[in-house]
């Protein structure tokens, strides 16, 4: 018989020990705190110092924001309402809201026009940004610039229509002639477009804009964040294709094209943007006869586009240089001609590499649009620095206004950067 007392083994477990919860200080938030915030003397000190700093910051900011006055007609009234308490005077934002967004001269009963243009812009850029969407939507994207122009500037609908017809005819000519010779197609398209615009421009009756369904708004009346958005969107979308062309031109074997591109890029990159803006606003009016100058918005748009195109060209050149030579040779060996090789083999890879750089330039460009305030255009910052701070009611309000401007720009720039990260993940096909 078995006798337990004689068994030489003192203890035998007859089952598994039931799982116990980990010790209190090795789990959950306590463990996390110990590991991450208080893992040593130095880290503990740093944590405490940071907490104090954050507390001090919030102690100032939180009451300032929550005591904020949203309804007053002047800074003095704000101060009366606050009666010595610390608090923001957000009333300036609510009272001058339309001025901050649309500028001070855009007609108030036409605010729906830029609003609609903005919503349509989201629809128009969607198929460009997200290529899962149906490709048919690109037709609307192509029409959008003309619709937006008509909505924002108003006037006769014939002007954007003539412009559209010019582009369509030019495209058709390019398709037809470009098959045989690129040069014939290219220059033929330009000539045909110019002819269409000339004839169309002559056909538009004098004073057609005066009784148009949408009253015309001159460029000088545009302003506020709307102006930043318009400059940012048009300049980015124009400068990407221009930048690609410049980058390819710089790599060209044809000396004339190569040197034109090199000189253009190096000249523009060697000059500060603000200098170009001054040239656009001040110097050009010396060269035109009085009264026949080119629209200021157009001049500024051309300058900013040229500026960012030069930078984007260099970014894309980086992408092109990063491609192994074998890719070019592979394209040649398949018998593709230059446009085909670029379109199908080289550019898709080069552009993918260049995305972070292009986005960087785009974000920088969008913020640079505030520089137009120094040439007396009333963009968001221009509105704040000029009319609003110079009004007797709101002179002396700084944090609220500039904080608001920073917030608007942050929202847009952060979305751009988030989109580009999504795009990079989406296009990641290599094995890194």
């Amino acid at each position: 018989m078995t006798d337990q007392t004689t068994n030489p083994i003192a203890f035998v477990a007859e089952g598994t020990i039931p799982p116990a919860p980990p010790p209190a200080n090795e789990t959950g938030i306590v463990k996390w705190l110990r590991d991450n915030l208080f893992s040593g003397v130095a880290n503990t000190v740093l944590t405490l110092a940071s907490l104090t700093l954050i507390y001090l910051l919030l102690k100032g900011v939180v009451p300032w924001v929550f005591n904020g006055v949203w309804d007053a007609s002047s800074l003095a009234e704000c101060r009366e309402i606050l009666a010595g308490k610390s608090g923001a005077c957000f009333a300036v934002l609510s009272e001058r809201w339309p001025q901050l967004i649309y500028g001070f001269k855009y007609p108030a009963d036409a605010y729906w026009r830029p609003n609609l243009a903005f919503v349509l812009m989201l629809v128009a850029v969607a198929p460009v940004l997200f290529f899962d969407l149906p490709r048919k939507m690109l037709i609307f994207t192509a029409l959008y610039p003309f619709i937006a122009f008509w909505l924002i500037w108003g006037g006769t609908i014939l002007a954007p229509l003539v412009a559209l017809v010019g582009f369509v005819v030019a495209g058709a000519v390019f398709q037809k002639l470009g098959k045989n010779s690129f040069a014939a197609g290219f220059f033929g398209a330009i000539i045909v477009a110019l002819v269409v615009w000339k004839i169309g421009g002559a056909l538009i009756p004098e004073g057609a804009s005066e009784n148009a369904w949408l009253p015309a708004v001159p460029s000088r009346d545009l302003g506020g964040f709307m102006l930043n958005m318009m400059l940012g969107v048009t300049c980015v979308s124009l400068s990407v294709p221009l930048g690609i062309a410049l980058a390819l031109g710089r790599q060209s074997d044809m000396p004339l094209i190569k040197w034109i591109c090199v000189i253009f890029i190096e000249f523009i990159r060697g000059v500060p943007l603000i200098t170009l803006l001054f040239v656009a606003s001040v110097m050009l009016s010396y060269f035109f006869p009085p009264g026949s100058s080119v629209d200021l918005f157009l001049r500024v748009m051309i300058m900013i586009t040229m500026f960012s195109a030069a930078y984007i060209a260099e970014v894309i050149r980086g992408g092109l240089a990063a491609l192994p030579r074998g890719q070019y040779e592979a394209a040649d060996s398949l018998g593709l001609d230059y446009p085909q090789a670029m379109r199908l083999i080289i550019l898709p890879q080069a552009l993918k590499i260049s995305i972070p750089g292009i986005v960087n330039v785009a974000v920088g460009l969008f913020k640079d649009t505030t520089l137009v305030s120094v040439i007396s255009m009333f963009d968001l910052v221009g509105m704040i620095r000029g009319p609003i701070l110079a009004s007797t009611e709101w002179n002396g309000v700084y944090w609220e206004l500039f904080g608001f401007a920073a917030l608007l720009f942050f929202v847009v720039c952060y979305s751009i950067s988030q989109y580009s990260q999504w795009l990079e993940r989406r296009l990641a096909t290599d094995h890194r």
Partner: protein, 338 residues
Amino acid sequence: MKKSVILGVATIAGLAAGAAAAGTVDDVKARGKLNCGVSTGLVGFAAPDANGVWQGFDVALCRAVAAAVLGDANAVEFVPTTTKTRFTALASGEIDMLSRNTTWTYSRDADLKFEFTGVNYYDGQGFMVPKALGVGSAKELDGARVCIQTGTTTELNLADFFRSNNISYEPVPIETNAEAQQQYLAGACDVYTTDASALASTRATFENPDEHILLPEIISKEPLGPLVRHGENEWGDVVRWTLNALITAEELGVTSANIDEMSAGSNNPEVDRLLGTEGNLGEMMGLDADWAARAIKAGGNYGELFAKNIGEETPIGLARGLNAQWTEGGLLYSPPFR
């Protein structure tokens, strides 16, 4: 032979210039709008209100000129200019006149080729200090930290003033008036110096304006006035005499309230000449008889404009000081309408 060619060319150039010079009055009339350059925003002098309508002391002069020439005080296209773009805008013909608190100096007149058509505000550089500093005169500011806008005449004036009084200071360079307000309130400098009108309007925005005082010394001359291009004498006359009409109207007691009554005829011949009930002063300038009456009606005489935009009743609260009529110890002295 050569000489005659040169003379001929010079004559033609002169004729062309003459034709162009006579042009601006006709240009403005043909256009039906006055292009007037103003500041992008200066408290009390030029700023659009919440409805986007330009208001201010400099703006009022544009309206008066438009009323005199075109008969409509609202027929003005205000072209906002910065300190950097103002002169090129005028020289290139983008604007017909500049009414933008611009100091009349020798070089702007002779070198930049502009014609100042009068002075609508006599300004000068002053000092603002906190009361707690216990200073009563700028000469007691030895060793003070002074907030000063860089690259301006105020910087040079300040250096001159301290050197001539044998005292020292420590400059704190700032870029804009807005930055200066913040620096001064934060105590980064003991003294803020700029034009006295700007100091007054800055002080008016403080939470506790009573804790700061303006020192009595004014250390520079800053006559601010409207200007036109050199050589446009007829147009210059229109601007000059519109301003003079506003000043004379105050001197003679013609206000926007009693002008209709006075236009019917008064027993003062100068009033009658000014308002066009007597004589043909308007005709001499190529305008109709009641040009000055319209200019005065646009916003009031000089005193009314001053009181409404920058005077003691407004938050800016400027005293008339040098800008009082000569009969009251100021410098406003319009040549007679005769």
